[in-house]
């Protein structure tokens, strides 16, 4: 019984990390229908920004978010305004190709600048501290922190989208960009803000990933897959759905691994496939696309 509980619990906490990876992806897809192939590499880029911040100023990784979040926010705004905006409205292919190219450029620029060494951020005792829930049941404080942050980030984005003026504008351009423009909404600026917001979330995911395990310039694409799956399971454009998608993926993998470690990833993919078969638009699709 404890073993089963442990499996589900560890899987749920892992789901929090997946949801954080996926939240930015979900946000920009929901607002501008942009599939960002470079998302995983942007996570790694943010991790390197954190590494530089930590090494330059001597602050801890969590504190470094004060620097990383604004930097990535600016990167996101510039990236969308200067590059990605001009790929929109021309069908589905140009954004895919441009972000694919961006992915390769980021990887090689990081390799040039930081070498291929496997890096990691250190959070000291927080990394290994745990909360004992029973004789054979312990939960790491750090995974728990990741999960709670994921919930907080998604709740925050939800409030932003549904309770604020800028959120209303986001939803307006998402529903009908032409009509929104007629009402005086500046699409280019809003899209850039959305990407900036997505990369701010990416920074949080990146710092957690970098404390959790090693990263190197080539590791980004592998992180993209679970983010995509979490978004699709949850339903495109739905933020709470993305959190649910991450948790479903994490628990499925954890249960699979319990049966046989070879089934860990397979179980996640099977869960993904099942959702696609039973509910092709995901669990909580937002409106009609």
């Amino acid at each position: 019984m404890t073993a089963a509980l442990d499996t589900v619990l560890q899987g749920t906490l892992l789901g929090g990390l997946y949801a954080l990876f996926a939240a930015g992806l979900s946000l920009i897809f929901g607002i501008m229908r942009l599939v960002n192939i470079a998302h995983g590499d942007l996570i790694v880029l943010a991790a390197y920004v954190a590494l530089v911040a930590v090494q330059a100023s001597g602050i801890g990784p969590i504190e470094s978010l004060v620097i990383v979040v604004p930097v990535m926010f600016a990167v996101g705004y510039g990236l969308q305004r200067g590059l990605l905006n001009s790929t929109l409205d021309r069908g589905i292919l140009p954004p895919l190709l441009v972000t694919f190219g961006l992915s390769i450029i980021i990887q090689n620029a990081l390799l040039e600048g930081f070498s291929a060494d496997s890096r990691k951020l250190q959070a000291g005792a927080l990394e290994i501290a745990s909360l004992r829930l029973g004789p054979d049941l312990a939960v790491g404080w750090f995974p728990l922190l990741i999960f709670l942050t994921a919930v907080a980030v998604i709740a925050g984005l939800q409030v932003l989208l549904y309770r604020t003026r800028v959120g209303r504008a986001f939803r307006a351009v998402s529903d009908d960009p032409e009509a929104a423009r007629l009402y005086g909404v500046d699409n280019r600026h809003l899209f850039a803000l959305a990407m900036a917001l997505a990369l701010a979330v990416v920074s949080i995911a990146a710092v957690f990933l970098a404390v959790r395990t090693n990263f190197d310039p080539a590791v980004g694409p592998a992180r993209l897959l679970f983010a995509f799956e979490a978004v699709i399971i949850g339903g495109l454009g739905s933020l709470w759905g993305t959190l649910a998608g991450g948790v479903i993926l994490g628990v499925a993998q954890s249960v699979g691994a319990k049966i046989d470690p070879a089934w860990q990833l397979l179980a996640g993919h099977v869960a993904f496939l099942l959702v696609l078969v039973l509910r092709p638009r995901g669990l909580f699709p937002r409106a009609v696309d």
Binding site: A3, D6, T7, Q10, G11, L14, L17, N108, L111, S115, A116, D117, S118, R119, K120, Q122, G124, E127, I128, A129, S130, D136, A138, V139, G140, W141, F142, P143, R212, T213, N214, F215, D216, A218, V219, A222, G250, Q253, S254, A257, K258, D260, P261, A262, Q264, L265
Partner: protein, 423 residues
Amino acid sequence: MRETRIKRRQALTGAAGLIAAGAVGAPAIAQTKRIKIGYVSPQTGPLAPFAEADNFVIGGVREAAKAGLSIGGRNQALEILVKDSQSNPNRAAEVANDLILKDQVDLMLVASTPETTNPVCDQCEVNEVPCVSSVAPWQPWFFARGGKPDAGFKYTYHFFWGLEDVIAVFTNMWGQVPTNKSVGGLFPNDGDGNAWGDKERGFPPVLSKLGYKLTDPGRFQNLNDNFSAQISAFKSANVEVVTGVVIPPDLTTFWNQAQQQGFKPKAVSIGKALLFPVVLEGLGNAGHNLSTEVWWTPHHPFKSSLTGASAQQLADGYTQASKKQWTQPIGFVHALFEVAMDVMKRSKGAGERASVLDAIAKTKLDTIVGPVAWGSGPVKNVAKTPLVGGQWRRGGAFKYDLVITDNKTAPNIPVAGKMEPIG
């Protein structure tokens, strides 16, 4: 209109004449023969840490061979052509093909992991180009390419250690620490993991012979984010020794989760992940006394046949040039070029591939990684270099230093300490 066409034709004939004149003159320039050595390694991509010292090592070799090689009383210039495999086996085969067909190399060198060595060696075998390879355990190099122990290969030769050595080193190290002999295995679903966990040729048969009980939860995919299934299996089997061959991110994830869940083994001996010091630095204090196999250190009592430098001098040179701690591949990449220079000196030089192949087979050279000689290895094309075991310890010149703690497999390499239990 008609006139211009004739003019154009005349101009073309003139140009052709010029090109022909150039071709006639060409052989006069290319009188001295030039030896070409091709080298393929993973300079970018996930395997890049293996090739990080390549520029430093090759720079040293070029410097040492600046004046060319004296072959049969005549001086021949030396050219080293370096290609990047991008950590991709297909790309490795492609650049090897270019080196063979376009550049017409006399000798091919290749290093670092079966993903690089195997495709390059396969190309050399097919195109009948002599090749020396290193930095991959010999079993995945030999058997994965369909090698038959009695026949072997004709054009490709390899020097490194094998799985039997790493098993001996690990069990010798565990013998120094009192444990309950319960071992947990972390074998991923990749070439190395499957070889190490193989029920006939891997760890399991040797461990059961030595009285160890192995708990192997099964193969997992690389870049695993959750090791709780493995940890709970190890805990219920009361595991005190952990072994395996995993990539650095997986080691970090596993080790942090193990500590969160209160799993505290006495010895952790892992291949691959613990090769590079930056990975240990990433673990903070938690990397102290993790152990690994050691192929080369600055304390190995060998020197370069090419420059006369000791292992310590080579490592210091790298640290000085790069401001980074030495890593194990440095010695082997240097040794690869030592073998290459020695082979070319004993061959008939440029354009004489048959004599180069002959010279490889007759190699008997004391290199910076130990003696290299084919003929006495486990199979015809494999020469074995010594392997010992060590623990990473905090303090010293760098954040973590690799201390040799067991040399039963190669007593000529000095130990610098005894095995200490973790924690």
